[in-house]
Amino acid sequence: MSTQEREERTVRCLIAKVGLDGHDRGAHVISRAFRDAGFEVVYSGLHRAPEEIVQAAVQEDVDVLGISILSGAHNTLVPKVIEGLEEYGAFDDTLILVGGIVPDEDREKLLEMGVAAVFGPGTPMSETVEFVREHAPDRR
């Protein structure tokens, strides 16, 4: 048991619903998929403000922050979250993912801001899980 504890570090994720859209089906599905992949998932609940997401990400010390936005407000909300993370020194070692409907031209902008990947509708769950496994920050 003790050896296992030492070798395997559990990946912690925050799945966040930010802003006004009330569609959390995707967030639920991804939460469960992550859980089944052996990750620890903190789910934010609906309608969170960027500050709340920052608070949760900092306090929970998550490796991965998955932001689900279906309202189209990603261009305003995501930068606010990133700014907040920077303020607490939590930006550089947090893997930021965005899920939802994001037009191609916005996608580039998000990636430039520091989002690691944008997953649109229909992305196979295994792809997202695999991405997290590969890219979760190593931060001992």
Binding site: M1, S2, E5, R6, E8, R9, T10, R12, S31, R32, F34, R35, D36, A37, G38, F39, E40, V41, V42, Y43, S44, G45, R48, A49, E51, E52, Q55, A56, V58, Q59, E60, D61, V64, E86, E87, Y88, G89, A90, F91, D92, D93, T94, L95, I96, L111, E112, G114, V115, A116, A117, E134, H135, A136, P137, D138, R139, R140
Partner: protein, 408 residues
Amino acid sequence: MTPGDSDGETTERDGASTASGAAGTERDTGGDGRDADLVDALLDGEHRALARVISKIENRAPGYRDIVSRLHEHTGSASVVGVTGSPGAGKSTLVDKLARAYRDRGETVGVIAVDPSSPYTGGAVLGDRIRMASNAGDMDVFFRSMSARGTLGGLSTATADAVKALDAFGKDRVVIETVGAGQNEVEVVRTADTVAVLVQPGSGDDVQMLKAGILEIGDVFVVNKADMDGAGRTVADLREMLHMRDGDASGVGAAAGHHGVDGDGRGADANGAAGSDGPVGAAGDADRPDDATDDDWDPEVLETVATDGEGVGELLDTLDAHRAWLESSGRLADRERERHAAEIRHLLRSDAAALLERELDARGGVDALAERVRARETDPYAVADEVLAPLADCVGEGRETGDRSGDE
């Protein structure tokens, strides 16, 4: 381009976060200089450092023991409340309201919410945070979700250590929230000074279930969702059972149970003043023969409606009263000593087990020994004696000169 896959990219951060941030990106293990920096950053009030320390504690990361050792001298000022109860009883919602009430009094709060994890995948969805709506965006409420991770006994150590981190950080109040399901959780909640047990109304079976273990550890019982049918009945059931508990403990308390079940306990106990349930100096129980202190704490039964905050003020008062009683009766120090004794024992056990595990490996591993036992070449007792022999010899030698006081 991504923050995640570029480990070497950034050690520079904005000035606000110094040591704590840097600790996150460096990769090598050990090096207590960095751990010392991390502890300093925590003591300086950096949230990120606190969060990272708790992660290290949770992960049993290299160096975590040293960190906790460093923290210890800075602890002891927070008062710790444990909240437990069956799933759906409203723990998270109540804890949220409780934290808000503490904040309104100008106190800072740390919350540790423990959720079970899947024994199959190790994964978990930690949902308690959803209910923390009253304190959204308030960084003076530090809320942390922890998963049980299936480590028997280890959870209580990890929780106790996380409480120390919050305590050293300067939190006035620390709340531990856990599902009151089994031994593990009972252990966890024991790391608190005051334990509140939540019960749902109308769940006669629930109250029955409490008999096993949870009833004994509660200092305060809270019937949440008190606006539901059957709340009064549940309050009455609880009171009766608590008197039975007292009876079991002292042998004479049964007399106190004869104040009957008044079908509607609701409303009668505005501040726990009802009948013989008063917290301090309940005269009826004063003449217990085998209790030196005649001011025992009698567990209170309160009612709350967590969703709209009803009864939270009374709960707060009762928690404060219990705390005051702990201090004035000297029980606080007793509990602390008990806790530390358990901690020491637990650490010794797990360290000794690790030591023996190595000894086992040196002897070809436990599987080989098991095979020998299976072939009837030897037996488990003989093997245990054999493996333990060097350790016993060492301890024995050390004792030869000194006095032996530690064996039980």
